[in-house]
Amino acid sequence: MSEQATTAASGPKVKKFMFVNRKAPYGTIYALESLEVVLITATFDQDVSLVFMDDGVYQLVKGQQTKGIGIKNFSPSYRALEGYDIEKLYVDRASLDQRGLSEADLLVPVEVLDDQQMGELMAQQDVVLSF
């Protein structure tokens, strides 16, 4: 833990990466691909933030059961992100509201932000990748 903190503080190459997830989980491959890239980025000790907005909020919904469609349920992986020191998960409030969802429906702790807060956060990033 302290070693990682030292790396982050002293290494000039740490960049702020934001992954913006806007697609539902199983209809397309975007959500899974995003998760893969997020884990790779974390391996390089970068400052990683994940954003879930629009249909991307469906990625975090509890209780996904994919046996019937023959696709691996990758939603438990979001719970594992903490183990990779990825703890900055942000969700767009309007997207939740529109879909009748609340924080209680999500499988990981997140920070719910309004448009302005999310916009400011995006503006602070070095790299923004959309999925």
Partner: protein
């Protein structure tokens, strides 16, 4: 930040979400099917007019031309060619390509 949109606003909500998050002084470039958002007299016209007050709006001329929309750009949106596209990428420190 330069936001790049490539989908029709009548097909996806990428532009809408982008405009919600865009901060004053940032830029939005419409390319490919997103150029329809720049045309006069559409359902998007008022939304784009409001957006133009906050962010700089650009549209890629070759994509307008390809779609027969080359002369139908509404006021407040600046057409650019490919070199202009490159200039925008250079001018803003980060780009975000919305999917």
């Amino acid at each position: 930040m330069l936001h790049i949109i490539n989908k029709s606003p009548f097909d996806t909500n990428a532009l809408d979400s982008c405009l919600r998050m865009a901060q004053p002084g940032q830029a939005v470039l419409l390319i490919e099917d997103a150029v329809y958002a720049a045309t006069q007299g559409s359902a998007l016209t008022e939304r784009m007019r409001q957006a133009a007050a906050k962010v700089s709006l650009f549209v890629l001329q070759p994509d307008l031309d390809a779609r027969g929309m080359g002369t139908k750009v509404q006021d407040g949106i600046t057409p650019v060619d490919y070199a202009g596209f490159v200039d925008l990428v250079e001018k803003y420190p980060t780009s975000q390509s919305w999917l």
